[in-house]
Symmetry: C2
Subunit: 137 residues, 2 copies
DNA sequence: GTGATTGCAAATCTTTTGCACTAAA
DNA sequence: TTTAGTGCAAAAGATTTGCAATCAC
């Protein structure tokens, strides 16, 4: 078994090259259970505190960055001043509801892109993010 | 003449519902000359200082926000920690080069979107942003 | 005049960092 | 034991805000 699914959280972290420390496991338990969510550092911090685990804010930020670098999370930036971390790392897109400051996933196959431009000289396309901004009708 | 083109900067600002104050005109002179640019609050602040005009940073931020609200600029957020303001308010998309932290415009017709999903109940689509992340090959 | 706008500095918010301490392997 | 990881507090960076002074009309 070479992929990082269907294992204990500890193994999943090891498999991603991260030591399964108490803090990382606590965050993994909240975020890597297969459910698709969008959390901010702040909301996650509050959730951790509520779950009885105590953790420094700096550690929350560092852990989120480590998970993102390891491909366990995806960082999403929209038109506000903080980052959201998406537990869905599959290719997909987003509705962004600015009124509620809320992201909604859109499966990749619901957005069909024909005719993408070529990347500028010396560059290649890494990924394509489509954000559909919505508002109340 | 009902649109806000082909006028003096002062009239252009008035037309957008903004009093043509010294500060606003100075920023308009730099940004609303028809050229397409991406500036950050910081880079603009430096440019203003270099041009001999003195202006508080808070005023730069406030003015950029006012221009954006008035539709004279467009705020673009990518995966970094500050906002960029795009002087091109026409519909278009972006390459984002994370290595250089640089945005490159893509004309709207170079990206063809077929099959957009419907907005969630009670909402309507306001705009669609496509960001193509690129990296060195 | 008078209401909108600005300057300025302080406040706020998000995020990163340095370093001594602790824990995983 | 050795190295990676954490806590904490401070720093950094972006942006907003409060209020008195100033400016456009």
């Amino acid at each position: 078994m070479t992929d990082c699914d269907q294992m204990t959280l500890e193994d999943m972290l090891r498999c991603a090259g991260l030591r399964p420390t108490r803090q990382r496991v606590a965050i993994a338990r909240l975020l890597l259970d297969g459910r698709h969510r969008h959390v901010s550092a702040e909301s996650l911090s509050a959730e951790i505190r509520d779950s009885g685990v105590q953790m420094a804010d700096g550690t929350v930020y560092n852990t989120l960055n480590q998970f993102t670098d390891a491909g366990l999370l995806r960082r999403v930036t929209v038109h506000n001043e903080y980052s959201l971390f998406d537990t869905n790392v599959d290719h997909h897109h987003h509705f962004y509801d600015a009124d509620a400051d809320r992201l909604i996933d859109i499966p990749a196959d619901h957005v069909v892109l024909n005719s993408l431009p070529k990347a500028p000289d010396g560059h290649e396309i890494q990924s394509v993010d489509v954000t559909i901004n919505i508002r109340l009708r």
